[in-house]
Structures are given as structure tokens and as C-alpha cells.
Amino acid sequence: MKKSDVEELLPFYVSDTLDQHERAHVEAELAEDAALRSECTRIADLARFVAMAHEHADVPPASVRARVFARISGSRLSLPQAALSRLRPVFGALAAVLIVLVGYTFSHRPNAPQATPAEPRLEMQVQPQLKQSAARTPQVANLMVKPAAGNVRDAQIAREGNLILLVDDVARALRETQIYARTHGAVVTSLEDDVPPDARSRHLGKIAIRVPAEKFDEAMDALARLGALQGRSATVEDIGRQIVDSAARLRNLRRTETDLLHIMDRSGRVSDILEVQNQLSTTREQIEQLDSELQNMRDRVAYASVGVSFSANATATSAEPSMRAQIGDAWERALRGVRSFMIALIAAALGALAFLPFILVAAGGLYLVWRRLARFLNSR
């Protein structure tokens, strides 16, 4: 190592940031060269002066912090672009696979039964005793689920359940549900009694109650006994993370509010005060909104929702359906047919799109073969 190289390393020797090898070289040179030792002392003094200037430097005012945290509280963190760009090939591959799968599924199963709307959000298992009736009535098959036993009680769980029951007397079933709610600390949140206009229509009723979360399973079982069970669903959602996140955001916003109040106390100019007041107003609005959301989430955890749909066992007379009912059925069948046709059309288009590269390659190959063949024939 040349002397000039050692000189360049001296500041970093002083700040003790050299690796062992470099340090050994510098120390060897220092041991032999008095001028270098003197230079080293000068650098150490200089470093001390710069560090001293740092100790006397200002600290940033609290308003900077308030500004940063106000901006952060007002915005939701979006997935960073770098992460997105890193995941882009994965998304592309997934999209391609999805398109092929969707195309394949729809083009090979055009008459498959349509999916039902309610999908369980946590791990569910189908009740064995209900499998048979589920097979008979595919439109309620996906509803007939029950939460898997596990440690979900330890988390912040929001529960919702639905029952579909056939009963002899809908009005009586509704009354009994209300009585159950009153006697078990639950609250009726909605009630619909669809009394049939004529003897041929079916009597329908719906009731929704909110029960204390710990009585959810008991309520579902008790209400299921009011009639013949046609469908049963339960969804559970762990909203603990959302609650913690909202609580943290609320804490930050309250801190920001306090900071803004301090800033306002210190601000001199009217324009500054107005600006801070404006920010304060926005922050308070966010606090109120978040507070309300948090309360709502906690309510969802404390009280589970149970909805029960009652349907009368049979109409008063089981005569031939009315003309209006027949026309309604025909219209619904036609709509279903159009829907299936549209889905099949879209599936075929997606399938074609997915296979487009292969089609293009094949077409290109055929074109090349055709050109060579044409040349060969012309030459003869």
C-alpha cells in the first residue's frame, strides 16, 4: 500500500471504520512515519470539532413530526411499487393460469350449477347429517356449514349465522323466536312476516337477532329446533387485526391532534393558525370516523348475528300454480338460459385469448412451410 493510500485511509482509521486488514496496514505505516502520526492527530482534532458542531446543532421542531404523522394518518399505505414490480411476473403467470382454468372449466362444463353467494370465510366443515339434503337442494348446499372447532374463541371473532327452516306455522315460529330473544339477552334487529295474499301462496317470514357472542352456538341450535332444517350456515371472521390497527391509528391521530394544538398555541400569524386549524379539523373528523368504526367492530365481536328464514310447510291448497306464477317461472328460466349463454361465450373468448400464442406460433409455422413449398414447386 502506497503512502498516499494510507493517507486517504487515515480519517477512517480515526473513526474506527476500517476492516482489520486495512487497520493493520495503517498502524504499520504510523509506527514508522512521524509525519503521518502528526497528520493523524490533526484529523482526530478535526473530527472532534465537526462532532462538536453537531452537538450544538438544532433539533428539528415538533411541527415537522406533526406534519409527517398527519400525512401518514391521512393516507393508507399502498403496496409499494417495487413490491408490485417484483410480483408482476407472478401476477402475470397467475392470471394466465386463471384464464386457462376459467376457459377450460366453462368450456367443458357449460351446464354446471351456479355458485351460491355465501362463502365461508374461515375453515368450515359440512355437517354430515345435512349432506344428503344438501345434495338434493344445491342452492343451499354451500350454506350448510358449521365453523370448525378450534381456538377461534381466543381471537376477536365476529360471527354470523343463518338458518332456513320449514315450519307448520310461520307466525308462531316468529313469535317463538322473539320470545327466545327476550329470554336470552338477545335483541331482534329485523322482522319480516310475508303473509300470503291468497291461499295458493306460501307463507314466508324472516327474523334477525343479535345474541351475545358466547350464546351464538346455543342460539343456533335452539332456533334450528323450531322447524325442519333446510339450511344452516355460519361465518366467522377474525377482525382482531383490524381492531388493533384501528386502535393504533386512533392513538396516532389523537397524538397528532395534541401536537397540532401545541403548534396552534405557538403559532403567531393568522394564516398559520388557520392552516393548523384546518389540519386539526381534518384530524378530528378522522378520529370520529375511526372511533365509530372501532365501536362497530367491537359490537360485532360482542354480539353475533343470527338470521332465520321460515317457510310454511305447504300452501293452503296444492293446486296447479297460477298463470302468473307459470309466466314468472318461464321468465326466470329464460334469464338463466341467457346468463349461461353469456358465460359460455365469455369463456370461449378467454380460452381463445389464452391459446393465442400457440395459435400464432402454429400459424407462423404453417406459413413458413407453405412458402418453402411454393418456392420448391416454382423452382421445378
Partner: protein, 193 residues
């Protein structure tokens, strides 16, 4: 002398940065507490203007929050954050063209007629050093601040500034020669020379 973060605190910083990338505001608060002052001091040293430095600090910390997921973990978190601050300060300096010392800083110059106790003397010398640093070119000021003010090695400075390590070594060499000359001219030379 302020030193570069050691291993223990570096692990915490990495953890905070990863949590901030997932949207954890309390982790970001911890990160903010840790870097608020050193980053601000670096920016003030670079720009020589407290108002502009406050804006750059806010921009830097907001970028840290927004782009925490881009931190690849190759360099130290402090190096990554200082690199953001450095580039923002350089951009700001280009826009402002002429770095100036803030009036409030000038107002804090101790009165030479006061009794020369050690504290006042140190304050006076610190102020003189700050002024001397202000006379340096921006790229020289940056490497001096990072090497002596924050205790970074030349490889880390190279990562922060975005220049080859060899360039940084020679830049620090010339910058300190220049700074020593300025300090001697200003009379802060008793101990430096």
C-alpha cells in the same frame, strides 16, 4: 463523535423497517425517533438552512414510510435512510442554488465579550466549524459530515452518496485539507494544526 449504529440497534432498525413496510405505525414511530435528529443534522449540515432542512426531513421520513418495502436488506437501515436524505437534500440544494445559514443560527453566535468559560468557547468554536463547513463544496461537505459527524466508513458513504469507494476516499482527503485550511484562516487552529 457520533458513531454509526452498532449491531444491536441495527437489528432493531431492521425489525422496525420491516414492520413499517407492513404498515405498522408504531414501528415507524420508533424509526422516526431513532433517525429524526441525526438525519436532520446531516441535512442542515448539507443545506445550511434550517427551514429547507425541515422540509427535506419531512419528505425523507415520508419516503421511508412509503417505500419501506423497497429496503432490500443489503445495506444497513441507517445507510438506506441517509441515502434517501442525501439525494433529497442534493435535489433541494440544486433548486435553491445558494446555501445560506439560517438567521436564527447566526443569532446564536456567542458574544466574544462574555467570560471565556469552556462552554461558551466550545459553542463559539462549534459555530465557527459550522461556518467553515458552509464554505465547503456540497459534495465535500457531505462526505465530511458523514465521516466525522456520523462516523460512517468509506464504503457506507459510497453507498449513501452513490459514488465509488475510491472516489469517496480521495474526496474525504481533499475535503478535510480544504476544511483545515478554512479553519486555520478563521482562527480555529490552535488544536487543529
Amino acid at each position: 463523535m457520533a458513531r454509526a449504529p452498532q449491531d444491536a440497534s441495527e437489528a432493531s432498525e431492521r425489525r422496525w423497517l420491516q414492520a413499517a413496510a407492513r404498515g405498522d405505525r408504531s414501528a415507524f414511530e420508533a424509526l422516526y425517533e431513532r433517525f429524526e435528529r441525526p438525519v436532520y443534522r446531516y441535512i442542515v449540515g448539507l443545506l445550511g438552512n434550517a427551514d429547507a432542512a425541515q422540509d427535506v426531513l419531512a419528505d425523507t421520513m415520508l419516503d421511508v414510510w412509503r417505500c419501506a418495502a423497497r429496503y432490500g436488506g443489503v445495506s444497513r437501515p441507517s445507510t438506506w435512510i441517509f441515502a434517501i436524505a442525501h439525494h433529497k437534500a442534493i435535489d433541494c440544494g440544486r433548486r435553491r442554488k445558494t446555501p445560506t445559514l439560517a438567521l436564527d443560527e447566526l443569532a446564536r453566535v456567542p458574544d466574544p465579550s462574555e467570560p471565556p468559560d469552556d462552554i461558551a468557547l466550545r459553542g463559539f468554536e462549534a459555530h465557527e466549524v459550522a461556518l467553515a463547513l458552509g464554505e465547503l463544496r456540497a459534495d465535500h461537505r457531505a462526505v465530511i459530515e458523514l465521516a466525522f459527524g456520523h462516523g460512517y466508513g468509506y464504503r457506507e458513504i459510497a453507498a449513501i452518496v452513490g459514488a465509488p469507494a475510491g472516489t469517496i476516499k480521495s474526496r474525504v482527503f481533499h475535503a478535510r485539507k480544504h476544511l483545515q485550511a478554512i479553519l486555520e484562516r478563521r482562527g480555529v487552529q490552535r488544536e487543529v494544526s
